[in-house]
Every structure is written in structure tokens, then in C-alpha cells.
């Protein structure tokens, strides 16, 4: 039995039934990592020793007859911008190449309490900036479905790890689609929670008003299991919100479900085959009794521009801490303090990070703040209002996750603007703060296609129930 191919539920049931041990499960994943990592470049750091120690602890518990939680003893991977104590955390950057985390992120703490086995840290676009995992200082990750293609980004390592069965599930982070788009490119499930549902403490900040940590898993059910463990208000993150709705455990019936198709997301620019996959899902919903309603998000055309002003602005502030003083890389060429900053950052950051820092600095600078940043924040209000209106008419929205399937490595890296356009369907969820999920729905040209579902704020339960119907 190839234990690394199991889902969380299957792994848990197997452990409880004593069909195999957590150590065997972990060893199966580690073996797959040893087999594939050189070829796919998924893991930046593999924590073999720690993982086996964690697995042994769980096995002791099981042997003693104690009950175990659903995630207990199940091996997983974590994107390398989420801190795991005493383990190297690079954020895919030279500037943190040898940085060792001094504390656990809140989500990691929660996973430890839940008995998770942590296999290692996965590759990402540098500081989560990118849509292909090509900007990583540690080289690109390959898509397990086609080694010449990108796995998507920025959580490309996590998505590839799950798709290649190197782990049972993984964590990623999503600021503009970085969990959903790689999930879509790799044929796995990726979900971004409502902003405020999951703590960002211990996630290296990229754009603080949009970042969220989300699960990448083999099934919708598995994604939901992980979300339920990592969610919650956190004293260490003042932007987290207490769970609003009680878990209802209601079976959502597809009959009468109001499914919205935002017409602005179905105009040209999408691969025909990708569109077909998505419309097939819509047809499936319709045949099962759902009401398909065409809706409009009038400010959709401004969403990408709004995103690419707000994000770099917040990025420029969040990247200021990497200055060669308290941690990370430090230049050896400095003669003055200013030199330390100028040269450390010049030598330590990659091009995309520099581009976004400069864009943000520009947008926030005197004379331009009103025209760019303030304007974008105002547009953000209108974009939110569009969704508020729409969710009065429908229960959820359906659209593609990405306009294309996985593109070739090297195809877009020299044209930043084209790279940014791959986010066109995912950014709105971050701008508005909505929960959204990408679910695999077949292939186009032998490459995975994902359909994206969006639900109202804190509507994760509904989101998962609807996704299970796909």
C-alpha cells in the first residue's frame, strides 16, 4: 500500500485501525521526497529527524490505547514563509538563506497540538511574490504533471508536494491567489479563508491587509479538516476575528442553491478548454437543481490595478525590516550604515521583490499617494460593495481559478505584467477579504484545471459544502 497516496481521512482511519503506524506513514512520505525532490525541487528544507520523532510520539499514544485527533500522526509540509521554531525559514530568499526561526507561527502551534508531523519547508516565489515559484532564490519548482511547466505560485512547492504525494497535505499562503492558483495548476484543492479567520502571526508578512494562510489538500474534505484546526482568533494577531457562525452541520442541498456567474469573469482572455471545464461544472449544478444566475461585479475591471497598487505599497513597508541588522544576510561591502541597508538589500533581494518594493515606495511617496494608493483604497471600497450586493442575490460565485493551465517555465518571467495577469480571477477574493477555494475539475491539454468557488465573508462552511458537490 502506498501510504503517501492516502488522504487525511484515510490516513487517520488506518492509524486508528492499526493498519499502519505514523512512522510508516512518515517514512513513505520521506521516501517519496528522497525519490523526487532533486527532480521537482519542492522542499527547501526536509526535517526528517524531527518528523520521525513526532511520528514516534503519536505511535506511542496509539499503542497505549489513547484516542487520537484527526490530524495526529499525519505528515504534512509547510510553505517556507511560515515560521517553524528552530527550523530554517528562508521565504525563498537569499536575504534569509540561513535564518533560523525562533518561534512557531500560531498555525504551527495549533498543528503541533493537533499532533501533526512536519516533513519540511516547501519552495515558494521569493517572499511570496509571484505566480510561478520561479522567483525563488532556490530555483523553480517543477509541476509534477509536466516537468517543463510551472506548478503555479507562490505556494508552488506546497501544491506540488501534495500533487506528487510527497505529503498528505500542506499549508500555503494566499495574498492574490497564491494557494488557489498553484492548486489549480497542480490538480489539487487549495483554499483561502476569509481575511481574519486564520492568524497571520508567524507568517512572514507580504501585504498585511490581504495575506491569509490556507490549506492545500487532496480533497475538499481534507481542506476543511485542516481549516478547522488552524482557524481562530489569536491574541498575537489583532486582525483575527472570533468565529461568527456556529457550525451548523447542515447538509446543503444543491436544489435551490443560487449559483452566481459573474459575467465580467467570463469574457475573452481565457483558454477555451479551461472555460469548458468550468461551464461543465455549472451545468452539473444546474442539472442537480441549482439556480444559475448571471450577476455583475461592475468594478471587476479595476480589481487587478487596485491589487497591484495596494500590495506593493504594503510590501514596501513589510520589506523594510530586512536590513542586515538583526537577522539574515548582511553585505560585506558596507562602509557606512546607509551602505549596510543599500547593499544588503541590493544583494539579498531578487528582481521581483525589488520591483514591488519600488512600485510601492513610488505609490506611497509624496505627490503620488493620492493618485495611486488612496485611489486604490477607494476602489477597494467599491469592489467590496459589489460583492455585498451580489451576495444578497446568490449563495456563491463560480468562476475559473486561472485563465490558463500551467504555463512553461521561463515563459513569463521576463514580462512582469503578463505574469500579473495570471492572477486576474483570484485577486478579488483577497481585495474583498472573501473565502475562496479552487477545486480540480478535469484537464485541458492534459493539464489540470481548477474551478473557483467564492462564498460570502465567514461563509467557509457553505463554501466547503458546495465544493463537495463538484
Amino acid at each position: 500500500m502506498e501510504l503517501n497516496k492516502l488522504t487525511i481521512k484515510e490516513a487517520h482511519n488506518g492509524l486508528v485501525a492499526k493498519k499502519f503506524t505514523s512512522v510508516e506513514l512518515t517514512e513513505a512520505c520521506l521516501a517519496e521526497i528522497k525519490k523526487l525532490n532533486k527532480k521537482l525541487n519542492v522542499f527547501i528544507t526536509v526535517t526528517e529527524y524531527e518528523a520521525l520523532e513526532q511520528a514516534k510520539e503519536v505511535d506511542k499514544k496509539i499503542a497505549a490505547g489513547a484516542e487520537i485527533g484527526i490530524l495526529e500522526g499525519v505528515p504534512m509540509a509547510i510553505k517556507d514563509n511560515i515560521l517553524v521554531k528552530d527550523i530554517r525559514c528562508t521565504s525563498g530568499s537569499k536575504i534569509l538563506e540561513n535564518y533560523i526561526a525562533t518561534y512557531d507561527a500560531t498555525v504551527v502551534e495549533k498543528l503541533r497540538i493537533a499532533g501533526a508531523v512536519i516533513l519540511g519547508k516547501t519552495n515558494l516565489d521569493e517572499f511570496a511574490m509571484g505566480a510561478s515559484t520561479e522567483t525563488s532564490h532556490f530555483g523553480p519548482t517543477k509541476n509534477p504533471h509536466d516537468l517543463k511547466r510551472v506548478p503555479g505560485g507562490s505556494s508552488g512547492g506546497s501544491a506540488a508536494a501534495v500533487a506528487a504525494n510527497m505529503c498528505i497535505y500542506a499549508l500555503g499562503s494566499d495574498t492574490g491567489g497564491s494557494v488557489r492558483q498553484p492548486a489549480s495548476f497542480c490538480g489539487v484543492v487549495g483554499m483561502k479563508p476569509t481575511y481574519g479567520a486564520v492568524s497571520r502571526y508567524g507568517l512572514m508578512a507580504m501585504a498585511s491587509s490581504l495575506d491569509q494562510i490556507g490549506p492545500i489538500a487532496k480533497t475538499v474534505e481534507d481542506a476543511e479538516i485542516v481549516f478547522d484546526v488552524i482557524r481562530g482568533k489569536d491574541e498575537m494577531d489583532s486582525t483575527t476575528v472570533e468565529r461568527v457562525n456556529k457550525k451548523e452541520n447542515k447538509q446543503i442541498s444543491i436544489k435551490g442553491l443560487k449559483v452566481g456567474l459573474p459575467k465580467e469573469y467570463f469574457i475573452g482572455g481565457m483558454d477555451d478548454e479551461v472555460e469548458k471545464c468550468v461551464l461543465d461544472v455549472v451545468e452539473k449544478f444546474r442539472k442537480a437543481g441549482a439556480e444559475i444566475i448571471d450577476v455583475s461585479l461592475p468594478h471587476a475591471e479595476y480589481t487587478l490595478a487596485t491589487y497591484y497598487i495596494i500590495v506593493p505599497a504594503e510590501v514596501s513597508a513589510n520589506m523594510a525590516r530586512y536590513d542586515g541588522v538583526r537577522y539574515g544576510y548582511k553585505t560585506k561591502k558596507a562602509k557606512t550604515l546607509l551602505d549596510t541597508y543599500l547593499k544588503t538589500r541590493a544583494e539579498g533581494f531578487g528582481d521581483e521583490v525589488k520591483r514591488r518594493i519600488m512600485l510601492g515606495t513610488y505609490a506611497l511617496s509624496a505627490g503620488y499617494y493620492d493618485a495611486y494608493y488612496l485611489q486604490a483604497q477607494r476602489m477597494r471600497t467599491l469592489i467590496r460593495q459589489d460583492f455585498l450586493k451580489v451576495f444578497k442575490e446568490v449563495d456563491c460565485l463560480v468562476m475559473p481559478t486561472s485563465p490558463t493551465t500551467a504555463f512553461k517555465i521561463g515563459e513569463r518571467i521576463d514580462d512582469p505584467l503578463t505574469m500579473y495577469l495570471s492572477d486576474v480571477f483570484t485577486v478579488s477574493a483577497n481585495v474583498a477579504g472573501l473565502p475562496a477555494i479552487s477545486v480540480p475539475v478535469g484537464e485541458a491539454n492534459k493539464l489540470p484545471v481548477g474551478v473557483q468557488i467564492m462564498a460570502p465573508w465567514f461563509g467557509e462552511e457553505k463554501l466547503f459544502e458546495i465544493s463537495k458537490l463538484i
Partner: protein, 112 residues
């Protein structure tokens, strides 16, 4: 009114490609040293990206409130109490500094 006109004027000015001087200015503010080649490359790339945002500037949003964050939360606080840091963590924090002497972080002179 006058702020609006001024911004408008600036926009008009810079609807042209970003100059090398502008890139140098931004880079200095951002504490990034760039090579001559990088200045040219970034000037071009940034201009293209900024050009894409022109559409956003055409919309009249003067009566719309800006959104800084989407949770609606206000004034989330916790008591201002010192939580002692354990010895082990303190050592690790200092050990993370690229240059240090004993348990002090070393930097170039702040004031010359």
C-alpha cells in the same frame, strides 16, 4: 480643490516613462542600490506597470471612503504587560544577528 489640480498636473507630467532620476529617487527611499543597467531595466518595467494603472485614475472616486482593512475591527488591544522572554530564546535572537559582540548586535555608526 487645489490638491486635486496639483495631483492632476503631476499625473500629466509623469504619464511619460519614468526617468532614471525618478528611479534613483525611489531606490534611495527604498534603500536599494541599483546598477546602471538595473535602473534602465526597472524604469522600463515600472513604467509599463504604472501605465496599466492609468485606467484607475480616470474614475472619479472623490466621494468614496477608502478601505484600509476589511474586517471592520477597531481598536483591538491587549494589556501593556511585559512578558518575560526565556534565556534560550534570548540567546537565539541575538545569535541570529549577522554581526555581534557578546549579546550585543553590532552595526555601523548611526551618527558619524
Amino acid at each position: 480643490m487645489s490638491t486635486f489640480v496639483f495631483t492632476d498636473f503631476l499625473l500629466l507630467l509623469h504619464n511619460m516613462k519614468l526617468t532614471k532620476q525618478e528611479v534613483e529617487h525611489i531606490a534611495t527611499l527604498a534603500r536599494l542600490e541599483l546598477t546602471e543597467k538595473e535602473k534602465e531595466k526597472f524604469a522600463e518595467q515600472l513604467s509599463a506597470i504604472l501605465g496599466y494603472f492609468k485606467e484607475l485614475q480616470k474614475v472619479d472616486l472623490s466621494k468614496v471612503e477608502p478601505t484600509a482593512q476589511v474586517t471592520g475591527l477597531e481598536n483591538v488591544t491587549r494589556p501593556d504587560e511585559v512578558k518575560k522572554c526565556d534565556e534560550e530564546t534570548m540567546k537565539k535572537l541575538v545569535a541570529a544577528a549577522p554581526e555581534r559582540i557578546d549579546n550585543l548586535v553590532k552595526v555601523k555608526a548611526v551618527f558619524e
